[in-house]
Amino acid sequence: MTKLFGWTGVVLHIDLTTGQATREHPDPSVYRAFLGGKGLAGHYLRPHATRETDDPALPLLIFAGPLNATIAPTSGRATIMSRSPLTGGICDDSVGGRLGTQLKRAGYDGLVITGRSDVPCGIEISDGDVRISGTDLWGRTSDRVFDRLESAIPKGASLACIGPASENGSPLGSILVDRRHAAGRGGLGMVMAAKNLKHFTIKGTGKVRVHDKNGLKEAREEILRLTAASPVLLGRHGFSCWGTGSIFDLMDSRRMMPTDNFRRTRFENAASLNAAAYKKRFSPRRHGCTGCHIMCKKIADDGRTMPEFETMSHFTALVGNTDMELVMEANELCNGLGLDTISAGSTLACLREITGRDFTPETLLDGIREMARGGDLGQGALHLAETMGRPDAAMTVKGMELPAYDPRGAYGMSLAYAVSTRGGCHLRAYPISHEILRKPVATDRFSFSGKARIIKISEDMNAAVDSLTACKFTFFAASLEEYAKAFTAVTGVDMTGFELLEIGERIYYNERIMNAANGFDAADDDLPQRFFTEPGTSGGGVDIRPLDRETFLEARRSYYFIRGLDEDGLPTEAKTRELELD
């Protein structure tokens, strides 16, 4: 076989039932069609997309991209993908740390993990050596797993694990990677638990072959120059200096901060709970994924991982808490138990609204612990609200809890939430980029005009980004134009930014096909009723009205048309054929 540049040309299949590891060499055309990361993982998920999440044959997919382990900026990420136990739809999480880099350096473009071990186990991959062995860490929190294994694994290896929440059957279960990074959303930890897989380690010593080193260097310089010019990334108030929490002040000033379970959009105590307040109190240092110069992750002076923006917001405004230390504890507890912080915060907010009882520090932390035990609370907001007879109190889309951007303050965000293949997720189209952060240019956040096409193009772009695999934040500054140049330099495959967009379209449509196979249609591409009937918190010259239902539906109809779906949001034969997905 001709040796590839960029890609390793090898996908490793591990069957935990038999203990067998086999190597597959996909046809180069598969790489051209799906790139890597999210795209390639989706290609491998498609034949199994309707399997139950505890079916041993359902694969857990871990994929790197063609740019991993090269000098292309922020390309150290990886994709973890499977069917979501929370939504029943597809779910891919882009995760940082060292995972993608080590996977590539070990010689693999991806891992396909199937089967179910008889006993709790761990996988250890070191270049060509693959070992599956029993583990006594089942039931332990993630921090205990990292404490125990980090010193025992080779230096620089990547380590991923689940916590007790996944083991106890919570579909909010996350996968923790390299202690500080989470594949948080959609309950992929529970898929891992269903395979009796507690942890896996990957270490590689190989190098990725780069076709044109000078071309890659030139592309890298262009991307670095653009990120240096970005206020959001490397500016004095940007992510590099303050972490993603730097967006906290902005969300509040724009009256988009979900407060009291989305009943209000302004939080009176925001000024004392912003990134500056955390910085003053915890003196965080910078941390980032392998190959990243932005370093948006932060570590407190006492060694704890600082909360991301969504966690800061949901564990304060959404649940009615004003204690910063409690946010730190909740974040630490969620990560230790292996719970997605966004879904956890939102589920607690739902409980608070239904019961009418405010949290104390003790009851809030107890609530998190209860979630990890896998009872009703641990099944997420939708299940909880339905069980308690108040389905209206679940702020979810497709069963996934919404993050910390109120859709009444950014209409593109409302459409993006509704049509996202993953459910209540801000990262598919990420219209916050232009509706709030003004990149690449500002759009009117209180208008649906043009948004349907913008959302479609952005979804395609981010599908390509997650497949390369790069960090979405970089695209507040750079574009696919510069990354296409890096891709061509690395792989030797001629590619323009628009051709990457076309591949992104195929990758995203493939997800719609899989979701349709699981029964999703237009009824699932919708928002909680509250956003159409109740206003947010107006003031400061900003009027936060309920979304107009008819205008929203019109925008969704436009989106379906532009995306090549039928009126019920379902894939069409013609478009499926056009994208060579039949």
Binding site: E222, L224, R225, L226, T227, A228, A229, S230, P231, V232, L234, G235, R236, H237, G238, W242, G245, S246, I247, F248, D249, L250, S253, A271, N274, A275, A276, K279, H434, I436, L437, R438, K439, P440, V441, A442, T443, S449, G450, K451, A452, R453, I454, I457, D460, M461, E481, E482, T496, G497, F498, E499, L501, E502, E505, R557, S558, F561, I562
Partner: protein, 387 residues
């Protein structure tokens, strides 16, 4: 979408980047809409079929820009590579397309943000709004203007001018509008309240655009009130600043500057080092051209002057500093503040001019205008001395 298309068509004309009635701007959501009817839209519509975009800007530039781009396209048949900051950072280079067909235009726009079609005009696109296309179109004109005059001066210094260049240069130079010499009467300081500061900023921003001292939205403006810097937002049009100014406390107690101009750091450091209260930053063309003019042909840093220049260069006493946009290690945030604090004005190599005022924007504006007019005068004097 149609109203947005009309808005940016009008803006191109208002900024004298295209003749009124010339621009064609298409916007696509579910359906394609144009700012006006024209037989060429049938060909241009094909670009929407071939590229995943939502807007397309096409126009023949107004003179003298049309003559400039046609000349450059004849000298650089495939790609034009200006060396100014806007090109280096955002455009990278500008391809030349020889056919006015949807297919040919799309093939070039697949790779770059704008394309020159000699004799026809410039095409650019947006994936979010027509504003992107407007900005790329405007930046292309700016970059080509700077390249045309810079290259002429460099050739004059090197003694390599040819008759054709001389002829086009003479014609283009004759077509330049007369310099504005009378500054506007802006709100007088001291600016003591937030409302006064915001109104003064909006007024000064409109004046900077109105006097042609900045193109598209690449400029910024700030005003210090106590320990809060009010600064124009990133990507804001200086002639539309109402609602687009961020208050940024200098004590680091809030991160509302997340959407502020990428030059916030530089502005803040100027204020920390001096008693100035107002800063203007524009991209006047001849100032940019003169900032890049250097007689040291054998300098080891040639080609990387924008980050490595070690000379203490000035334009009529106004310091010229190296530095890239933003906050990187070679960012102008490191080089600009000391120079500004010393003299109240500085040019950044290939980028633009920053000027400061102690009480209001009048002083800053007068300096900005004066530097541009002196740069223009020095440019033609230098050319003449070498021709």
């Amino acid at each position: 979408m149609k109203s947005l298309c009309e808005k940016y068509a009008a803006k191109l004309a208002a900024q004298r980047l295209a003749d009124p009635g010339e621009p064609l701007i298409g916007g696509l959501d579910a359906e394609l809409a144009w700012n006006r009817e024209d037989p060429r839209t049938a060909e241009l519509a094909k670009v929407f079929d071939l590229l995943s975009i939502n807007s397309l800007v096409f126009s023949r530039p107004a003179e003298p820009y049309a003559a400039i781009i046609d000349f450059l396209a004849s000298r650089h048949p495939e790609t034009i590579r200006p060396q100014d900051t806007e090109t280096r950072t955002f455009l990278h280079d500008i391809p030349v397309c020889r056919e006015f067909t949807g297919e040919a235009v799309a093939a070039h726009l697949k790779k770059r943000k704008s394309v020159i079609i000699p004799g026809q005009g410039i095409a650019s696109f947006g994936t979010v709004t027509p504003e992107q296309g407007f900005v790329f179109y405007s930046s292309t004109i700016f970059s080509c203007f700077v390249l045309f005059f810079s290259e002429y001066l460099a050739r004059a210094r090197a003694g390599t001018l040819d008759d054709e260049y001389r002829e086009v240069f003479a014609s283009v130079s004759a077509g330049l509008s007369d310099p504005c010499t009378e500054p506007p009467a802006l709100a007088a300081g001291p600016l003591e309240t937030e409302d006064q500061a915001l109104a003064a900023m909006a007024e000064a921003g409109r004046a900077v655009v109105g006097y042609g001292l900045v193109d598209s939205f690449f400029g910024n403006i700030s005003c210090r009130l106590n320990d809060v810097v009010h600064i124009s937002q990133t990507g804001s049009s200086l002639d539309e600043l109402e609602g687009c100014i961020d208050p940024c406390p200098m004590d680091g107690s809030a991160t509302t500057g997340l959407t502020a101009s990428s030059e916030l750091s530089a502005h803040e450091d100027v204020y920390r080092r001096s008693d100035y209260r107002c800063i203007l930053h524009g991209h006047p063309k001849f100032s940019v051209i003169m900032s890049m003019d250097c007689a040291r042909i054998d300098c080891p840093n040639r080609g990387q002057c924008h980050i490595k220049c070690t000379e203490c260069r000035t334009m009529d006493g106004v310091p010229i500093v190296p530095g890239e946009v933003g906050t990187g290690p070679t960012g102008l945030c490191n080089t600009l503040p000391p120079a500004m604090a010393r003299t109240g004005a500085a040019l950044v190599h290939g980028h633009g001019v920053f000027t400061a005022g102690a009480t209001d924007f009048n002083e800053a504006f007068i300096r900005l205008l004066d530097i541009e007019n002196r740069s223009r005068q020095r440019y033609f004097e230098t050319v003449k001395a070498h021709e």
